[in-house]
Amino acid sequence: MGVRNTLKLWWSRLRGALAQAPLLGWLLGALLAVVVELLVGAPLAQGLGMSKIPALFGLTLMLENPALIPSAIAYVLLIYLLPVCLVAWLTTPLANRVAARLLRFPLGVSVVIHLALLYATLHLWSGVSLYRYDVLRYTLIAIMVTLSLNVVNGYMGEFSCSHPGFMALGAYTASVFTVVLFVQDNRFGPPLLPPALGPFTFPIALILGGLVAALSALLVAIPSFRTRGDYLAVISLAFMFIIKSLFENLEVVGGARGLGNQPDWATLPVVFLCTVACIWIINNFVRSTLGKAMNAVRDGELAADAMTVNTRQTKMVAFLFAAFWAGVAGGLLAHVTRYVNPGTFDLKKLAEVLAMVYFGGLNSVVGSVVGATTYNLLSESLRPLQDFKWIIIPVLLILVMVFRPTGLIAFKDFDIKTLLEPKGKR
């Protein structure tokens, strides 16, 4: 009993101490952890009997070879958990003071510094292997898609199924733009513009992809927003299939074989910046009174109408806005895989995106980030289980639905200032 109580005491003390650490401290800790991994990760992994650094926090290794479970856990503890917590704890007073000082400048300064730390951490972490680099970029893109779908399904409470279609449109538009203009390609011939210009026009390609997706969203929005109900779900599902078969039959862009040869411009910094922009803009929107009109439409359209809200316009804007970001994410995805085919944007993709939205939490920016990240990391880590993966993930989803019907972190406002503020007594 004595030992247990002592442990409990220490545990609560530890938690109390760590709760005082501001985000700045945690980011510093994470940065240190990845530096430690770079320096001693490989020898430590070998010392623990693993052939190489565990790619994604060791879960894959444990599943492949249960004998390595203790080593994988030890590795995660020593490399990640310990340094992160230690730094967060040790720097608490200092980090709190710095965080408070930073907030005296415009909020932007604080944000940029935090983002720089975060980026440095991600950059170093993903530098260890190409696999990590890819997983990270896919995850960031998934965050964009999830968040944009959350605008429609969560914030506005409609059920849309057309996101893979919007992604496909964005992916193909951006790909055709970059490949035709800047790449020597069998199908499209020599580049029309000097390739050196290319990277600077990449944002245009992405935005163009987003705009095409948004424009096509009108086709779904105009008939389905005349009334409420299940129309959107049905029409948007049909739209998704139409887009897929459109690209399957469009030989100009490769038909079912797909379109390759995209330039390698969707590097980590580019994807990171796009994700940050996406989160920032969507968060701005959903927290404005114009954006809250979506919630009013969801919770009671009649009342919204009577309170001067133009409900039809609100629904249109939200839907087109979400489609735009799905298009941008699709464009990025095409340039990460550097190949697109219509098969990518099928029902399975839809199921994944929906799963991420509902897993993370409706009506919540943080929820979408958490949902997309968890889902992607889990889905990658469970690869060794092969088909059983498709049993475990749905079961997890069902559990979330049973115990938290609106998702892990639902109906939370994401306030950047609160996030960056120093913690504890001031």
Partner: protein, 256 residues
């Protein structure tokens, strides 16, 4: 010129005549009541004037401009605020957000402001917020501003609806049974709020009510609606003594 004028409004739901040859004039600052037995079409009259339904026949003028057939949000932004018989609050939103959102038609920052958080947006949002706090103060629930509405007791929810309707900055306020489901104490509070709103903001009020005490105390003029037709119109005193009204409505209630 009268503030609100309805001329010979008739409405059919398919083969059912819900409202027949309805006329109404409300002057600025006047409180007018609409009473009648259940199913008489009172709420339908509200819904017709506020644009939820389009009248089959007839004309509606607000401040001399015809508003017949306009969509509800346009009619609302031209100066009609309303509450609902069964509360229609937005269940996931805070009290403050309710009142802020009813300022929707005054927002000028547009999508650019919404997406990028421009200074203009911050200025307008701050303005709306302080106005909303004032309205919450007026109805006596300022301390509840950050609560999610479904967590509030019924009386407070009614007040949220009132504050929200006022945030539309109406010239005339439509109240659909504002004291429904309230205990006598809450009812007195609500009547005080209605009086206060009437006096401080100089609003005209159009009121549907079942409780005679509320109608008789508050209204300067009352219409009695039975099966979609006005059978009597006049001061509370006249209505109280009108045999047709007693027959159709008051008599029944006394017996029950």
């Amino acid at each position: 010129m009268s503030l609100l004028r309805v001329e010979q409004m008739t409405h059919w739901f398919g083969g059912l005549r819900a409202v027949y040859n309805y006329n109404l004039t409300i002057e600025p600052g006047q409180i007018q009541g609409l009473i009648g037995p259940n199913g008489a079409g009172k709420t339908t009259v509200f819904n017709l004037i506020t644009g939820r339904y389009k009248p089959t026949e007839g004309h509606i003028f607000l401040n001399g401009h015809e508003i017949t057939g306009l969509p509800p949000y346009k009619i609302a932004s031209q100066g009609i605020g309303r509450t609902f018989q069964n509360l229609r609050l937005w269940r996931h939103m805070t009290v403050l957000d309710h009142v802020k959102l009813a300022h929707y038609s005054r927002i000028r920052y547009g999508l650019i402001g919404a997406f990028f958080g421009t200074p203009q947006r911050h200025r307008e949002e701050a303005e709306i917020e302080s106005k909303s706090h004032e309205l919450l103060e007026l109805v006596g629930i300022r301390h509840l501003a950050d609560q999610i509405v479904i967590n509030l007791p019924y009386g407070a929810q009614r007040r949220v609806e009132m504050a929200r309707a006022l945030a539309v900055e109406p010239k005339i306020l439509f109240l659909d049974e504002p004291t429904a489901g309230m205990n006598p104490e809450e009812m007195m509070d609500m009547m005080n709020i209605i009086r206060q709103v009437h006096e401080e903001l100089g609003l005209a009020i159009f009121l549907i009510e079942h409780r005679m005490k509320v109608v008789m105390d508050l209204c300067q003029k009352i219409q009695t609606l039975v099966f979609g037709e006005v059978i009597a119109e006049g001061t509370p005193e006249e209505i109280r003594n009108n045999p047709k009204v007693i027959d159709a409505y008051l008599g029944e209630e006394v017996e029950a």
